[in-house]
Symmetry: D2
Subunit: 337 residues, 4 copies
Amino acid sequence: MIVILKQNAKKPSVDHLLTDLTGLGLKTDLISGEQKQIITLIGDVTKVDIESLLARECVENVRRISEPYKEANRKFHPTDTVIEVAGQKIGGGHFCVMSGPCSVETEEQIIGVAERVKAAGANFLRGGAFKPRTSPYAFQGLRAEGIELLLKAKQATGLPIVTEIMSLQHLDLFADVDVIQVGARNMQHFELLKELGHCDKPILLKRGLSSTIEEWLMSAEYIMAGGNHNVILCERGIRTYETMTRNTLDISAVPLLKQISHLPIIIDPSHATGLTTLVEPLSKAAIAAGADGLMIEVHNDPGKALSDGAQSLTPDQFDGVMDSIKRQLAFEEKTIG
Amino acid sequence: MIVILKQNAKKPSVDHLLTDLTGLGLKTDLISGEQKQIITLIGDVTKVDIESLLARECVENVRRISEPYKEANRKFHPTDTVIEVAGQKIGGGHFCVMSGPCSVETEEQIIGVAERVKAAGANFLRGGAFKPRTSPYAFQGLRAEGIELLLKAKQATGLPIVTEIMSLQHLDLFADVDVIQVGARNMQHFELLKELGHCDKPILLKRGLSSTIEEWLMSAEYIMAGGNHNVILCERGIRTYETMTRNTLDISAVPLLKQISHLPIIIDPSHATGLTTLVEPLSKAAIAAGADGLMIEVHNDPGKALSDGAQSLTPDQFDGVMDSIKRQLAFEEKTIG
Amino acid sequence: MIVILKQNAKKPSVDHLLTDLTGLGLKTDLISGEQKQIITLIGDVTKVDIESLLARECVENVRRISEPYKEANRKFHPTDTVIEVAGQKIGGGHFCVMSGPCSVETEEQIIGVAERVKAAGANFLRGGAFKPRTSPYAFQGLRAEGIELLLKAKQATGLPIVTEIMSLQHLDLFADVDVIQVGARNMQHFELLKELGHCDKPILLKRGLSSTIEEWLMSAEYIMAGGNHNVILCERGIRTYETMTRNTLDISAVPLLKQISHLPIIIDPSHATGLTTLVEPLSKAAIAAGADGLMIEVHNDPGKALSDGAQSLTPDQFDGVMDSIKRQLAFEEKTIG
Amino acid sequence: MIVILKQNAKKPSVDHLLTDLTGLGLKTDLISGEQKQIITLIGDVTKVDIESLLARECVENVRRISEPYKEANRKFHPTDTVIEVAGQKIGGGHFCVMSGPCSVETEEQIIGVAERVKAAGANFLRGGAFKPRTSPYAFQGLRAEGIELLLKAKQATGLPIVTEIMSLQHLDLFADVDVIQVGARNMQHFELLKELGHCDKPILLKRGLSSTIEEWLMSAEYIMAGGNHNVILCERGIRTYETMTRNTLDISAVPLLKQISHLPIIIDPSHATGLTTLVEPLSKAAIAAGADGLMIEVHNDPGKALSDGAQSLTPDQFDGVMDSIKRQLAFEEKTIG
């Protein structure tokens, strides 16, 4: 960490600051130039509050030069994390395809879709029981009943299930869920993240609507700091000024995260664009960029879906997309599961 | 709502769609031009799922032409909402100043700050007990103890208190809190909003980091649909590409919200920019634009604050800012409280 | 186009509006519902000024339902445009790789780089003679001399050259340039676009720093409306709040543009992220998403480049990236040139 | 400037770098800690190419700690710039109101509007002769004829005129124009800026659609570095994800610029939001925040304007807005002119 002092910083203020910083167990160096004075801090700076430094009379600016994330940092954990769940692996060359409807609607629907996505090659069933909807008047999901239906579909097909949690108080309902999803709107619901840090299930952490990559890793850090190291990152598009697509898929996040973190990273092309016609090319791009998996919406009858119909593939369309995905995976010498 | 059909839409698909829409109790009109066919829908369209319409084979686009919010809509509730709490009023010409530290730290600190902000003219004490921090390693607030200290400060000064809730499970701790704040990161924590819809306290709803004004009103709608009509909106800056300020204060939101909603709207210039030197001019701008109040961070010793020191005014600086605020309010013929 | 009238629109205003619209040669339909009145307009609406309609007393909103671009629109030109220049083709299955330094610096440098990129498989030489730099104190390019050096490199290697124009008054200097580039900062320099519409050279039109896809196509339309149909679109990252990458590569723009336009679309991964380590994975992703080409920065000695060194590959690194690109192209059954 | 070295930086590379930096006339300090090595650079770093430093094998990151702008920097020019033109002053307590139509359309129109805005209290006439329009099919302005009409209106009313230049080749036409406007789309048209640096007229420099404040000041620096110090900055809204307003007015830019620069800064509430109903509250907010002027669109018949009708006030509406502006200015003890 580097503390840049004001041009007119007075010696007593600076001495006071140096004493306080040394008191935190940090090694300090004061460098004086003609225009600037700088203090460099070496040591564990994670507990230094930058904002408070900035409020000091003598401080002009503070610049961090090391990453604030530790558990999620590849520098300290060079080997790829491989998540193992229900006989499936994710990361380190193991690819996953999580498919299913935006919302679980009926037993017939979810089992029907589960059978079709399994047949097409998906190795996880996704489906929403608790649904975060912008409007209070929109369908809010089947909630507890939705999870029961997902478990029936799991029993029928053997596919492990992924579903979203929206509040801590529902945690008990997720006892038999294989992967717990934290949605974009809850990426900084820190109380939830802390609690998930104490459970033993893999957590699929979606990137917030306009979160930076660093904030996203810090949210992973919340879970990992609690002891749960099974975090899967999921890029699902960020908010920009562009309106032709629902969000803007940040494809660069994939190779960048591969460099700075060891966690698996998957892509959700359905939410990223809201356009079914873009799912296939973006799935291929995700694989080419090095992603560890895909999350794709599939609905038996998108025109009558209770949510997000426009971005859901039909099972037949999904068959076609999976053919393309499998060819691309074969080219990259990766396998599903 | 307007449904724009594809150029090559087939009659059976269109007829099927018309039947389904009529079945929802909507009045439909099909207009045919040379290039386009359009269906207009009249009636209660809040339950129509636009995404599912978009998934229909024959549909090219869907455009909403009425607002999706009802309770928060000035069209249906033309009179300004005036919140009454602990002898203070907010809205309809009544101005509020909510001040205090980012985090409650000690009894001495919070009572000391409360006395100073009261003396300067603030009519609410704000202070964080539960703190949403990006890093799990940063100070997380005194939590339950922080609320107890706030209540002591309330007892000592008579100032009603405003503090943030981060999780449903803490709701019992807020029994004696006067105004419950929902922070930017929880603006779409829908389970929390629903529950707050059933309580009888005013809710201060901060705008999400990158929420649209419409999404913000829809979150207010979640609370109001539950029966709690005491919602105060708080603009605290949105995320943009600009880095000189922490966020970008969307000042236009104030007069715009005054036109489309009846809810009070206040401004938080401290979080909006992260720069103490901008608090005074932006407070004045907020009043000039028609805001119903301000939320301003004040800390007894910003250089040693446990969070957000850089944007906190000292009590002496706050005295100066309040002088300026009072003059501006006098000019606008508004009063605090 | 759809004109939505205000709830309280008065009959004389509406009649007046209908008369004016009919006078523009448009077919109008007035539909009245309980809550809304709507006018639909059929005909050539490109000359209707939406802003002026919005200023009418009786108008609440106006929504366009057809695209404002004609020449660049796949609906009217279903076949892929294939650009032919100097024996090379771009588009319709023909892939291009445009490589070279950010800035032309010396004859030795540009010929040396040209030989290396040609050997590696690139089929165009790119290099900046006129350089748009944020700072007036930064190197501004060799300007006219830079173009001369590019032409020498062309002579030496046979590679056609691509270089950026920054002002109309330099147009004469581009007589022997093969492809004229319009940079991101000039995407809406309309006077320049108009003039380029009258020349017979292919124009490589980079997307503006924060331009929408529609605005980008409208800038292509400026060139095409003048008679020059040889436009190549180049996505180079858009401005967002994310700071780990210089810009955010909008990969979705590739398949989306393939659907709505017939123009070739290439990707510049160097400018999009500013990070050399991301060039290879993003090049692969671009191909997988369906791009028609790549523009990649290569410099003989990036550490001593006069501009943009950080994002330039060395010739050796470029060899490696090209191996990867060629394998991916082979998989997609596309060829360079 | 601070150069942060890689953990594994090798001594020869570092020595080489130090030699090169010293060769640029900079004073260097190498500080070694357990985790990091840092080089601090003191001296004139404006010519150091950060990108090339980043490309060095041994460099991890580079951080600038002083501003890249000199002429526009308040640190070096502490006194407010006051622009004097045609008997009017702008800046340093002198307020300006520039009003008129988006486009000059006819002699009758421009003189009529000029008379009305003068009567209401505006001290500059603005009007577009060259119009940057997104679509090539939209009205492009009367061009040379438009400037002639503006000059007639100047003659008729005595109001100095402000109008936009779009291309260097039109510069001769601006000989009698009082203030030359550079529009948002041309803020980084560097060839134009350089040329305007050699003329003796005040330049009104609008902020780019998504330019940072630093980039904006660097564009001012282009003009000032050429010798023309009469630059007026104009904030006109930036591009964000919000769609209810056309752009997002960055009101914080006003007090921030007052701190870091000595140049006058004015606000254009018409373009910032695109909504006439927001012009009055935002004009007041601009004054309260410390702006030196306003640019407001006024059209005799907005419903029939050839461009931007929706955001234009009628002369009668403008009378009302001016009453409000004058009261606010009196309160701030500022005067027009």
